[in-house]
Symmetry: C2
């Protein structure tokens, strides 16, 4: 189906838009009554493995909220299963791994990802969605650092002690793991674009835990390769991290047509740091969706005003929608963003 | 006892020093076999309530590691007990509060802190220590935002959903709570200085979760008051936050003779952001203490080199010592820092 609404893709390319495009990270999720009802019958991964159901979950917020893009319903852990990572998505915890990776042998036991053969349901879902949707579909993957942190720690962490100490103690293991993960991520992103995804987001969510020097030494080379090896796809790539204000210039250097930023740094300041050559996506604090309308609306307008007249702003949150969010709030944010017009406002 | 070693205080005042002073946040703690043995018999709070024992725990790392300052062994929750907060320090979790603060009535039920009457053991410990130690003793308190986040959430949080949504939904409750907490913190800091503490650190550990605008509106006025109302004490105040690189200019504006920074931002960049008029403390990633010596030493030297020739650097970690740390590593870091000399190097 031809896209009726391509303002998201135009903004990614820094072309003029009639209205600032808007979508929300985790716009399909626990805040929706329909999703909660489905999750009583299916696990998250069971939804992912049923293309029709997964397409329905992906498309629901597009209709409900009026957002300008859909994002594939999936999880960053999905491509790691066929690579040999035995993971579980534990409720209220996150990914828990039965066999954490700590040695060269562990890394060498990982298998190369064959996305179409091993994750056919992902690409079937994408093919269904691109026929059905009239807005662009965003595919995605986790950044290699973020994936590495899960597979090394074995579960979510605040301190990244195992991850960083492996980096420092056993750089050979670290680099071997990052090579494998980067290969897998590249293949997974390429297959999503081949199936029809119009854009790709790389969630390097936890990379902000690193100091600049460690990012440069242990992560940047892989992010650079990831973006180099997906450049020929011709689809915009969004490069996102949380709490990564200090890394913005290097994330920009690594690549991506769009830099996604969290709420901590004012959006205009973030744009200064990455320069005019890229689009930016962000950056409302998701907790503001729990604020009264007058507070919320003022903040939405402040963000829009702060980058007024610059081409290439995609409105989004600074992180995913929180489960406590009222869907009507999200709907109103979409309306407010759209009411303010686009580049010609 | 007169201080034999006052290079920490000299650096706080940006005076020349023979060697860069060094101490470590959480230098008394789980990484020490002696501490672990004590904790089999006493809870953390039981140690705090026994001045002789608490002084011993505080002084132990000074002798063991050769650091240039001691920090009172205590917890940021300690002054909240007499104010009416019923808290528990839960192993591997953190502070858990039986009666979270969510309404104006909750706030109004809080009592003003009378430190000397209600926490006599804290000041008895300080008086013991200043007689006994030949390095300066640092007293401390949590920042009002950080304390507010615990008492509102009721337990440690990653998202600060309850804290921020109270700020947005009920600014009257928020401001009333921050007033009370600031009062308590000021009284607690003043009483520590009166008992003999040579310096004070304000741990606004979680303030980095806020965007700049929220910091300015909801936190900065209280931090400004906190520093104004402790200025006459004549002791250096260290103002510290984690992941707060984006807030540094405003933390500087709020006050403190020393700005403490975490590992994310290179120390020289952090110093640029706060300007020459203050000393800086930091900023080795605590995970580097788990790295091999050659990696660790190179990082220690990089930090020292990056601020070489500037007056007012206090070497520290970017956050507290991790339990997995080998005490010998800390000892070697102290030696390496001292070997490199001071401002005249």
């Amino acid at each position: 189906m031809a896209l009726k609404n391509d303002r998201f893709l135009k903004a990614c390319r820094r072309e003029p838009v009639d209205r600032t495009p808007v979508w929300f990270m985790r716009q399909a999720g626990r805040y929706q009554a329909e999703y909660r009802a489905l999750r009583e019958r299916y696990t998250l991964l069971e939804i992912c493995r049923r293309p029709e159901l997964c397409a329905r979950v992906t498309a629901l917020p597009v209709r409900q909220l009026g957002v300008d893009a859909a994002i594939l319903f999936s999880d960053i852990m999905v491509p790691l299963g066929p690579m040999g990572i035995d993971y579980e998505l534990k409720e209220n915890v996150g990914p828990v791994i039965a066999n954490p990776i700590r040695s060269l042998e562990d890394v060498e036991a990982l298998r190369p990802l064959e996305p179409e053969a091993e994750l056919p349901y992902v690409f079937d879902t994408i093919r269904l969605l691109v026929q059905e949707l009239d807005v662009p579909l965003i595919g995605f993957a986790g950044g290699p650092f973020t994936l590495a942190s899960y597979v090394i720690e074995g579960r979510p962490t605040r301190t990244f002690v195992e991850t960083k100490s492996l980096m420092y103690r056993a750089p050979d293991v670290w680099h071997a793991l990052m090579e494998r993960l980067t290969d897998g991520v590249v293949r997974h992103l390429r297959a999503q674009a081949a199936a029809g995804a119009h854009a790709l987001q790389v969630f390097d969510s936890w990379v902000g835990a690193l100091e600049v020097r460690d990012y440069q030494q242990y992560v940047l080379p892989y992010m650079r390769r990831l973006f180099a090896e997906t450049a020929d796809l011709g689809v915009p790539r969004i490069h996102f991290g949380v709490g990564a204000g200090h890394l913005l210039p290097w994330m920009r250097e690594a690549g991506g047509e769009v830099i996604g930023v969290d709420w901590r740094v004012p959006l205009a300041d973030a744009w200064e740091r990455v320069g005019d050559g890229v689009a930016v996506q962000g950056n409302l604090d998701p907790v503001l969706l729990l604020a009264p309308d007058h507070v919320l609306k003022a903040r939405v307008e402040e963000i829009l005003d702060s980058v007024r007249g610059r081409r290439g702003h995609i409105f989004n949150l600074g992180h995913g929608v929180l489960p406590a969010t009222d869907p009507d709030k999200l709907k109103r944010v979409v309306e407010w963003v759209h009411q303010r017009g686009g580049d010609t406002r």
